[in-house]
């Protein structure tokens, strides 16, 4: 409970398929019943992946993402951390990980269980990266996977990087968000260079036939925004 008290500012409670879930400002999701912290789409080493093709993005994205990850992990201090796929931007990512980043990752992992769910960017992960590599995880009524499955599902997934855009009287803001209809939740990407897909995109429609609420990550708290208040890009 101490962890909970410490994080009330940064979190936002919702009910997901009958379970309590805490949405965190970092983009992580905490399931108190399982003492499990979920993060999605870390896209480690996206910067170096672009550099290979001549776009020299600042090589600090991995440490930036790690710092956010390490911060949320230390706040919840969960029994298990589950990364919902696309943790690395490409298959060569783990090899390009710098020494410093590697040891930060190790220290974040230590003292708890760690699960890498595979994604389309990182179908294969080397053993050297620590933790367990799985295609899916089941926690009570919920299935955790990278890409949302077809049809009605009690699941938590990533893959789509949802962002919501709000325009109020000519002022616009575009923020990462969690999308949920109470049964399914699509999590935002946590990676520093992971872009976003607008929640109004057609890709979300079949996942939420009865609509959804978007929980937009603001600067200081999370805001629940109705689907009708969201705009296209």
């Amino acid at each position: 409970m101490t962890a909970l008290r410490k994080t009330t500012q940064a979190t936002h409670e919702i009910e997901l398929s009958g379970q309590l879930a805490l949405l965190d400002l970092s983009g992580g999701l905490y399931l108190p019943a399982h003492d499990a912290l979920l993060v999605a789409d870390l896209h480690f080493e996206k910067g170096s992946s672009f550099a290979r093709r001549g776009m020299m993005l600042p090589p600090y994205d991995t440490r930036e993402t790690l710092s956010a990850l390490s911060d949320v992990v230390s706040r919840f201090s969960p029994r298990v951390v589950i990364a919902l796929g696309d943790s690395f931007h490409d298959i060569g990512g783990p090899d390009r990980l710098g020494q410093e980043e590697r040891s930060t990752l190790e220290s974040v992992q230590s003292g708890r269980d760690w699960v890498w769910v595979t994604g389309n960017h990182d179908r294969i992960l080397p053993d050297s990266i620590g933790g367990e590599v799985l295609e899916e995880v089941t926690l009570g009524s919920l299935t955790l996977r990278h890409e949302p499955a077809a049809g009605e599902q009690a699941e938590i997934a990533g893959h789509l990087h949802p962002v919501g855009k709000v325009v109020m009287r000519g002022r616009a803001t575009r923020r990462r968000c969690f999308l949920t209809d109470g049964k399914r939740c699509v999590m935002p990407a946590l990676g520093a260079y992971a872009g976003g897909l607008n929640a109004c995109d057609a890709a979300f429609k079949p996942l939420f036939p009865k609509g959804f609420t978007a929980h937009l990550i603001g600067t200081e708290r999370i805001f629940a925004i109705a689907r009708t208040m969201l705009c296209r890009d």
Binding site: S48, A51, A192, I225
Partner: protein, 837 residues
């Protein structure tokens, strides 16, 4: 004909002049003489002085006299004269104009253009067999110089003609061109440059630009000035009716403008923004009972539509054209006998260049009217008229070369050939904008091009340019060169999105299909703020925004009589010049000057004096007053919209910290109005130094830094720098977004870079841009310095005549706020309302 001209002009040319009934003009002969002497020259002349012919005459003479080209494969003579224009259309136009004398004198000269529209087979042939005269743009020059054949292509170059130089040098395109020029002068040291320019404030800046700068000594090109002919006949359009206190539509003046159009042969109606162009065009047509041929021309219209207007204009078929800055530049439109400038003149030089578009013959006075749209603009028009009368100029200062442009150039040079770092440094510094470039900055740019230039050296193995064992830098492979070619240029802002007229679907009533024609393009960021159902003016009609389909904006025609809901966007692109602003303040401060203003204006100022204060020329008047359940603070720095927006952002941050709960602000060219739920006047009464503290220059320190961290404008600036420098690939307008296309949000890159390397060369380049560009921080700094100790606070119990004008912008202009949480809280509240309903 004088003896001097006889010796300079060959007989063929003298006969040609005679056959046309012309005399070679003095400055044309002067340019021939400087060319003979092998010197570069700046020609400053008003429109209609035969500037272009003067610029080309030396080349035509030389080419006419040179040994004819042998038509064999062995004759690899390079290009002789290169002409650079800011506009593709201008290059094509000039090529056409040159063909006439060349054909009439039967000269053996091959003239070709090279623009973005030139097909690839023609480009290849031009490299293979260079024309004698090539007309092109700064971007095409950069591409040519990055070509492996550049050395051969330019080795015989004798002359570079830079047209509309005054307009080129004020932007990053000018920086790019200066670097191109420095390379040209290395490849062809025998070449000289000719700059053609309208009148400018500091001709020496342009003279420096034309010749290589050497250590410690500013070299200057020669200067030839053609004095303007008759004084322009320019007046302010005065109406009996009272002008509104705010707004830019000048609706009251439309009947008078229409009458002027009817009374003249051909009229150019200049306006400041696309929106004003749309509005004016529509209003004039409402009045157009005579069915006069009045056309519309602005940069966002579809190209074919623009070409049609231009052709009709050249053919003399139009009675008037309503246009924006796109027609500012020197294409010859034939017999324009009246220029009408609607709205604020913004700058003295700018208005003179516009006026110069009428009567393309020097000896007749230009006819022009300035049409103020609101009372403040009366002041601005008065100040501009005085400036025109004194021929005072306020063209901007010479630029300091941008580092992002330098990065692009360095990569281009590596594509052309291997280079030695020191040599390239010397060459770059011979370009006037880069004359003061430090070795450290140069090295930082090279490091950026190679690997991104980060302190964390993670990308060595991916380097784009590498230093070989011979000490020379080379591009890594052909792929890098191809990447360079796709990203060349400095114009980024135009992320335009096409506007397509939709058709209602028969199968599904209520839905709209993208079946209609393309109407033109609008800025992507404007489209982003529209929500379905919004109506706005475009292409002369009121359109209803239906949504964005793929990469097009889908619209339908709004029912007739609909008023556009989106009243304005991005106001004027050009802020009021510092020079005119000072004049406006001076007129305002001096009651003797008021006599020269229209009576309605004088009356308004007298009211202001009675009810509040009319500030002195260097003072800043701050008024506070309650209204409704809010407290207002207005001030009038007269520093232009951009500086005022930045000021408003910073002031609201500070008011927030002072717990005065600011709610928002609006800004125009003259002042700003901030509204808060805290009582600002009460605080000033309690703390006498409060306002001095609020407006102190240290807001440009931490407050500015904090704001820059999240400012959307700063992120836009960074994006432009990132694209120009080649950090990320350019997104092409209209390019389909495919799933495979990899894009990266520069906003995310900005956040990460700012945190880890705040002094990175790209951030420095962005800050330099912010100082003069979208945030106008430099001007704000000058203002804060000027008003130090000169703030006059006037607490009022209601709004003053002066303040009303800014207050009226509320609801008309965007309310600024970068506070995402505020916007989200409002949207969340809407959800609650829905739930409770």
């Amino acid at each position: 004909m004088s003896k001097a001209s006889a010796s300079l002009l060959p007989k063929t040319f003298r006969d040609w002049f005679k056959s046309r009934g012309w005399q070679p003009r003095e400055h044309q002969l002067q340019l021939l003489a400087t060319a003979k002497a092998g010197r570069s020259v700046l020609l400053v002349a008003p429109t209609g002085a035969g500037k272009t012919l003067a610029g080309f005459l030396p080349s035509l003479v030389e080419l006419a006299e040179r040994e004819p080209r042998r038509n064999t494969v062995k004759d690899k003579r390079g290009v002789h004269t290169l002409y650079i224009s800011p506009l593709k259309a201008l290059a094509t136009d000039i090529a056409r104009n040159l063909e006439a004398p060349v054909a009439e004198m039967d000269l053996p000269i091959r003239i070709e253009t090279r623009t973005g529209d030139t097909p690839s087979h023609k480009r290849a042939r031009q490299i293979e067999r260079p024309p004698d005269i090539l007309l092109t743009t700064p971007e095409q020059l950069a591409l040519l110089l990055a070509h492996r054949e550049a050395t051969d292509f330019f080795k015989d170059l004798r002359r570079v003609v830079l047209d509309e130089l005054h307009s080129l040098v004020t932007s990053k395109r000018g920086d790019l061109l200066s670097l191109g020029l420095s390379r040209l002068m290395s490849l062809a040291p025998q070449a000289t440059a000719v700059g053609l320019s309208a009148t400018v404030r500091e001709p020496d800046d342009l003279r420096r630009y034309l010749v290589p700068q050497r250590e410690e000594k500013a070299d200057l090109a020669d200067l030839v000035v053609v004095k303007g002919g008759a004084q322009p006949d320019i007046r302010m359009l005065e109406l009996d009716e009272r002008l509104p206190l705010a707004g830019h539509t000048a609706s009251l003046s439309m009947p008078a403008i229409y009458d002027l159009i009817r009374a003249h042969k051909t009229t150019l109606v200049f306006v400041n923004t696309r929106l004003q162009a749309e509005y004016t065009f529509q209003e004039l047509w409402k009045l157009n009972e005579d069915g006069l041929a009045i056309a519309l021309h602005h940069g966002s219209l579809d190209v074919t539509q623009r070409r049609r207007v231009e052709e009709a204009m050249t053919a003399g078929k139009l009675k008037a054209v309503v246009c924006t800055a796109t027609l500012d530049l020197g294409i010859d439109w034939g017999d324009v006998d009246l220029v009408v400038n609607v709205g604020a003149p913004k700058g003295a030089s700018r208005i003179m260049q516009r006026i110069g578009r009428s009567n393309h013959r020097m000896d007749e006075p230009s006819q022009a009217f300035l049409v103020p749209a609101n009372r403040f603009e009366i002041l601005e028009c008065r100040a501009a008229l005085d400036a025109v009368h004194e021929a005072a100029q306020d063209t901007p200062d010479a630029r300091i070369g941008a580092l992002d442009v330098l990065c692009q150039h360095i990569l281009g040079m590596a594509c052309a050939d291997a280079f030695k770092l020191e040599d390239l440094y010397e060459e770059v510094r011979s370009a006037a904008p880069y004359a003061a470039l430090t070795w450290e900055d140069f090295e930082a740019c090279v490091a950026f091009v190679a690997t991104g230039g980060y302190a964390l050296r993670a990308y060595e193995r991916f380097a784009k340019i590498v230093k070989g064992n011979d000490g020379l830098w080379r591009v890594r492979d052909g792929k890098v060169a191809q990447q360079y070619r796709l990203n060349v240029g400095t114009i980024v802002e135009s992320t335009m999105i096409k506007v397509r007229l939709g058709k209602s679907s028969r199968a599904r009533p209520g839905s709209v299909l993208p079946r209609g024609r393309i109407l033109g393009e609008i800025e992507e960021y404007f489209a982003e703020t529209l929500t379905p159902g919004d109506t706005f003016l475009f292409a002369g009609e009121v359109l209803r925004f239906e949504g964005i389909a793929e990469d097009e904006v889908l619209v339908t025609r709004a029912a007739s009589g609909t008023d556009p809901m989106i009243p304005s966007y991005e106001g004027g692109k050009f802020p009021l010049s510092t020079f005119l602003a000072a004049r406006v303040r001076a007129i305002l401060a001096d009651p003797f000057e008021w006599d020269r203003l229209p009576p309605q204006m004088t009356e308004w100022l007298l009211q202001q004096r009675r009810r509040s204060i009319v500030p002195g020329p260097r003072d800043l008047l701050v008024e506070t007053f309650p209204r409704g359940n809010r407290f207002y603070m207005t001030c009038f720095p007269f520093e232009g919209r951009l500086a005022h927006q930045t000021l408003g952002m910073l002031l609201t941050r500070r008011l927030e910290r002072a717990k005065l709960k600011p709610l928002g602000f609006v800004a125009n060219d003259y002042g700003i109005a901030i509204y808060a739920s805290g009582d600002i006047a009460a605080r000033v009464a309690r703390e006498p130094g409060f306002l001095d503290e609020l407006f102190s220059e240290d807001m440009l320190g931490d407050d500015l830094e904090d704001w820059l961290a999240e400012s959307a404008l700063m992120k836009r600036t960074f994006r432009q720098c990132a694209v120009i420098a080649g950090l990320i690939e350019r997104k092409f307008p209209g390019e389909k977004k495919t799933g495979r296309q990899v894009t990266i949000s520069t906003d995310l890159v900005y956040d990460v870079l700012r945190k880890h390397e705040p002094d990175h060369v790209l951030l420095r380049a962005s800050r330099a841009d912010a100082a003069t560009g979208l945030l106008d921080v430099k001007r704000l700094g000058m203002m804060l310095e000027r008003i130090r100790g000169r703030i006059i606070h006037k607490p009022l119990d209601r709004v003053s005549p002066l303040s009303v004008s800014v207050m009226l912008e509320i609801g008309r202009e965007r309310v600024y706020s970068d506070n995402a949480d505020e916007i989200l809280a409002e949207a969340e509240a809407a959800l609650l309302d829905e739930a409770l309903a």
